[in-house]
Amino acid sequence: MRTIHYKIKRFDGKREWYQDYQLQYEKGKTILWALTAIREQLDPTLVFTSACRHAICGSCAIKVNGKSFLACKTSLDEVLETFKSDNLVFEPLSNFEVIKDLAIAWEPKMEKMKQVKPWIIPSNKGNAERGFIQSEDDFHEISSPTDCILCGVCTSECNQLAVNDGAYLDPFILNRAYRFSVDSRDCAPEEHIRPVYENELWKCIHCMQCISSCPKGIPLTDEIAYLRQESIKIGEVNNQGAKHAFAFYDDIRNKGRLNETMLPIKTDGLIKTATTKIPFALRMIKKGKINPFHMPKAIEGIKGVKEIYKYAEEVKHP
């Protein structure tokens, strides 16, 4: 008989510890089945949240061997296969306050979410009484972001939140801002986008964890790119993030390749670079890690690249 060993992180409000449980292996079960079986058969004091069992309510996400999953949607066999082990460690999601055992606090996150005005600011084309007419295309704009069930998996996997002081917005909050800013019934996208910009939008590291772990397959990183584009459109160009992105954009148009020596200056300006990046540059130069005099020459076919840029401009502004 195959036994699966579970180590579950417990927390009673003061004390933290790991507790061991064992269950016989059964084929075709889910993580939530294991949690429920442990609570019903082995330990009624184990606290976790769950409700719908159909990936709709979003309440049962936990971490298994360091990765975050929606427990009801995730097959136990798949997890055992992924980690090639019969030892599983269950922990509460990261980047949340823990209430008890695997139960996490959502209220602080909901307070944080209010900043992006996660509601429709109605245009004069309709109202709550009369409703709105939306085209099929309009609907498709919001159909994927409205799939979010607030399970918290993206937050738990976010590398920026893991080291951030707290201002940076959770990926699901960015998704809400996106969802309302592209809704055809909303008349004030800037009211959703400005708070996103003001809360460290450019600190996203592009680590791709959110898009890779979302149980609903929401293209979160594409949404973040859109929010950044929109922040540029509302005039927020004088910041490190936008200037850094434009350094790549401009270098490719001008020569085809990045000028790494000029990149810090384009991002931070000459004065800040001179005062903060000199030791970094000197140690690179000293070791021969970088040649500061390497100035990329225009690539073969740069004329064609400029034509591609011209065409992309026309596509953007027909």
Binding site: K84, Q160, V163, I290, I299, A312
Partner: protein
């Protein structure tokens, strides 16, 4: 074996040592790398924040350069270049309208994206195309006793729909290569962590914290050095290490090698031939102690 080679910008400047070691290793293994003529920067996971259509277009052009060479694969040695090229390819292959629009933009260059080459990374190509047995036969100096910490970097694994070479939650390709070379892979918490490189300007404080954690974790596991398949992870973890140290009271010193440098050592090249002396954190003492005797 022939590949169209997409070096990426760092190999020309801040990671020239990766160009040197890649070329040495490819030659020793009998892998022909034909550099694409007129390649552009991939956009480095930044350009789509200005214009995502343009990001797809310039990489359609890069891929089209490879298609003209009549090879089946474009190869890179940078995680982010691989991700950018593969992202463009996935979009162009899945969306006919987008492909038609992008090709309209390419028309003036006389090029066209056809979709008949794959985009791979050296790490994958060694396993998938070259073969670990064949690699093992080429080992002249087994790296016995060297404890390596394999640091994958995000963009060679995720998003799995675009990358998908192996399970992104528990990849094994780096460990497989290390084993063939005779090195011992250590287990460490930050094996699949993010280096933070892409936000080092707007999130300097946070990224330095990540760098320190990424060095301390392998150190605690007894690793002699960290190995990465990405020059951007390498630059973040090596060149910024003295800056990251300021935020930590414990010594975080951890040498960081490029994957081709590790392979090159096992193939018998000296650290100098692989330009290992160019790293900010000196890796040569630990290599001398363990494998160069």
């Amino acid at each position: 074996m022939r590949y169209a080679f997409f070096p990426g910008c760092t190999l020309e400047s801040a990671a020239e040592e990766l160009m040197i070691s890649t070329m040495k290793v490819a030659e020793a293994l009998g892998i022909e790398l034909i550099e694409l003529k007129g390649w552009t920067c991939c956009g480095a996971s930044h350009i789509q924040d200005v214009d995502d259509f343009l990001a797809t277009s310039i990489n359609a052009r890069n891929i089209a350069l490879g298609e003209k060479l009549g090879v089946s694969k474009i190869i890179t040695v940078c995680n982010t270049c691989t991700l950018m090229l593969r992202t463009a390819k996935a979009k162009l292959d899945q969306n006919k309208n987008l492909r038609a629009m992008v090709n309209e933009g390419l028309r003036s260059t006389g090029m066209q994206y056809k979709g008949n080459v794959e985009v791979t990374h050296l790490l994958w190509a060694l396993i998938e195309d070259y073969g670990l047995d064949r690699l093992k036969e080429k080992v002249k100096r087994p790296l016995t006793g060297l404890k390596v910490a394999n640091f994958y970097g995000c963009h060679i694994l995720m998003p799995p729909k675009i990358m998908g070479f192996e399970n992104h939650m528990n990849p094994q390709s780096m460990e497989m290569i290390a084993e063939v070379l005779g090195a011992e892979s250590v287990k460490f918490d930050q094996r699949l962590a993010c280096c933070g490189f892409h936000a080092v300007f707007p999130a300097e404080k946070e990224v330095m914290k990540l760098t320190g954690m990424n060095c301390l974790s392998p150190k605690a596991s007894g690793a002699d050095c960290l190995i990465t398949p990405c020059p951007l992870c390498q630059m973040q973890l090596d060149a910024y290490q003295p800056d990251a140290q300021k935020g930590f009271s414990k010594d975080i010193t951890m040498p960081v090698l490029h994957l081709p440098q590790l392979i090159g050592l096992a193939l018998g090249f000296s650290p100098q031939e692989l330009a290992i002396q160019r790293h900010v954190v000196d890796a040569i003492p630990v290599l001398t102690e363990n494998v160069l005797v």
